[in-house]
């Protein structure tokens, strides 16, 4: 039997994701792709595979149960940390592991954030329109379900690597730029956008996330009549109830709500990954700030392969690990020190 990952049970939001399909806006298709591209790149780095061809199982909120068939598989767990174990042994998140042939991997609910990623060496799927990711709202591919069997290849190495993942899972300050209708909102409304404490709505999806808040809405004169216009991920629409709604990767290609702002690309993952109820604050920045954040993120993604290191297991190394957590925000270093893990 060839190497494969068999899905035994699946949470409600599992789908295959890669970098998506940029370039089809003129045909009405948003780019889609992984909600946390950095997690996809971390997975590729841990598996030492080509980041440009990265493909993973994206898990919204919770994972599922999986079994290796035909061979040992090399897996990597990245993105929103979730409980994970192989045959009862707890796994280090943001790390690579061997899933032995016939063994069962259980991934539970998210401990922080929204989207966890399960990457598997050699995972492949048929390309549709140049990509292998599901575009759920556009009807391409679909959600993964119990019974699905995914082609992989036998584990190329023994795993045991880890990567320090920065915390992008709890909301916080989101930097924004003006957008097409920003100047149609009065200055008080724009000031209120920056001072209001928002919470990410629990009903967020791959298409977008509503920002709940107390107090009056954020309407403008532009609400009266706007002819539908091209919209892109990051745009902050003010929807009918006056709430800001941040468009995410799988948004529609056109919309008629006025846009009060646009989230800078470097902060969009933070919106997508914020757990339901996470605090969100918006702050207008300059184009230069946005561009410099974009450049830093690109640099960071390129540096990921060099950030992969062997997981530290010796007691003498634990203090190093804990100090590293203080600096880099390693998510589960505490678990490393105190719990059984592989």
């Amino acid at each position: 039997m060839s190497a494969a990952l068999q899905i035994l049970s699946a949470g409600p939001g599992l789908s295959l994701q890669d970098a998506g399909r940029p370039g089809l806006l003129s045909k009405g298709l948003s780019r889609g792709g992984a909600m946390d591209p950095q997690a996809l790149a971390e997975g590729a780095a841990l598996l030492r595979s080509d980041p440009d061809r990265a493909l993973a199982i994206e898990m919204a909120g919770a994972g599922g149960t999986f079994r290796a068939e035909g061979a040992d598989l090399l897996i990597a767990l990245t993105g929103a940390p979730m409980t994970a174990e192989i045959e009862g042994v707890r796994l280090h998140w943001s790390g690579s592991h061997v899933l032995p042939r016939g063994a069962t991997l259980k991934i539970g609910g998210a401990l922080k954030g929204s989207y966890g990623y399960l990457s598997i060496a050699g995972l492949d799927a048929a390309e549709i329109l140049g990509a292998r990711s599901a575009h759920i709202s556009g009807g391409i591919g679909g959600r993964l379900q119990a019974g699905d069997r995914l082609t992989c290849r036998p584990a190329p190495d023994a795993g045991g690597m880890m990567i320090a993942a920065d915390d992008r899972f709890s909301g916080g300050e989101i930097r924004i730029l003006p957008s097409v209708q920003t100047d149609q909102f009065d200055t008080d409304t724009l000031a209120r956008l920056e001072t209001t404490a928002f919470q990410k709505d629990a009903r967020a999806s791959r298409m977008g996330a509503r920002m709940g808040h107390e107090g009056p809405g954020f309407s403008s004169d532009a609400h009266l009549a706007i002819l539908s216009e091209i919209i892109v991920p990051g745009d902050v629409q003010v929807i009918g109830d006056g709430s800001p709604f941040v468009l995410l990767n799988e948004c529609q290609s056109m919309g008629g709500y006025p846009r009060i702002a646009t989230v800078i690309s470097a902060d969009l993952t933070k919106v997508a990954q914020a757990a339901p109820g996470s605090p969100i604050r918006f702050r207008f920045v300059t184009l230069d700030v946005a561009l410099s954040a974009r450049t830093s993120l690109v640099k960071h993604l390129k540096s990921l392969p060099s950030r992969v290191q062997p997981r530290v297991r010796h007691p003498g190394d634990i203090s190093d690990l804990l100090s590293y957590q203080l600096v880099g925000g390693v998510i589960s270093a505490h678990h490393d020190a105190h719990e059984e893990e592989i």
Partner: protein
């Protein structure tokens, strides 16, 4: 520049985040404004500026996505302003390479239960409304909202009827719906506030097809009335992945 169709204050450039620019040709839809978007996008594509990653049109604008590290906002804005000044975009001919599609279409009955209502709002009998629509080549004004979905227009002024206030529970794939002098053709079953008047035998988003997106903004469509049984035969062909509409190059 300054054709009579030009709206005051347009064209207008907007920044859309750190990697997008929008060139807006008007804030109301007209055929001239829409034609300007099609012609201007063709010129942007032909210019093939290094750093521009994608362009697309809406009913009234052209959007460019670019890499702001390789191509600065200032440089792209200057290039766009120069290009805007180089022609009367509201008066130039539509770009080359457009197609005319003839699509077998059933109107009314179970395949278009709101034809009578729409016709009466236009002051016409259902037969006359169908005849009017069938003889009007409608332009693909833009594609969007859902993948492959064309907005088509403009129909004669009598069809300037509003959307319904409540949504139709379900219009199937191929459903043709009418409002505000436009038609939309649904790639997949959907809810809509537009009046459902017919069904057209074309798959505007066939992800496994040789041409997944047969239509391009600027193409024209003639909806050719056929009987319900002829439509059902044609639809069976569509479901089997065949192109049942004919297509010719427009001059």
């Amino acid at each position: 520049m300054g054709g009579k169709e030009q709206q005051s204050g347009f064209p207008r450039l907007h920044r859309m985040g750190e990697a997008g620019l929008l060139v807006e040709f008007g804030d109301r839809l007209s055929m001239a404004v829409n034609a300007a978007t099609l012609a201007f996008r063709a010129a942007v594509e032909a210019a093939a500026w290094d750093g521009v990653e994608e362009s697309a049109t809406s009913l009234k604008s052209v959007f460019l996505r670019f890499d702001p590290v390789r191509l600065s906002h200032d440089a792209l804005e200057t290039a766009l302003s120069d290009l805007l000044k180089s022609s009367d975009w509201y008066g130039v001919p539509l770009p080359h390479g457009r197609k005319l599609w003839r699509v077998p279409t059933v109107f009314g009955g179970d395949h278009g239960p709101q034809l009578e209502e729409a016709a009466s709002m236009a002051g016409l009998s259902p037969d006359d409304a169908v005849a009017q629509i069938a003889q009007t080549p409608v332009r693909v004004l833009t594609i969007g909202f859902s993948p492959g979905m064309p907005y088509l227009g403009q129909l004669p002024e009598m069809f300037d009827i509003p959307r319904k206030t409540e949504l139709n529970p379900h219009v199937p794939a191929g459903g043709l719906a009418l409002a505000i002098r436009q038609l939309v053709l649904f790639p997949v079953g959907t809810q809509t506030g537009w009046r459902w008047i017919g069904r057209a035998a074309i798959d505007v988003f066939g992800q496994q097809a040789e041409q997944p997106f047969p239509l391009t903004a600027g193409d024209e469509i003639l909806f050719q009335p056929v009987t319900a049984s002829a439509f059902e035969d044609a639809w069976a062909g569509v479901e089997a992945g065949r192109m049942m509409a004919s297509c010719e190059a427009l001059p």
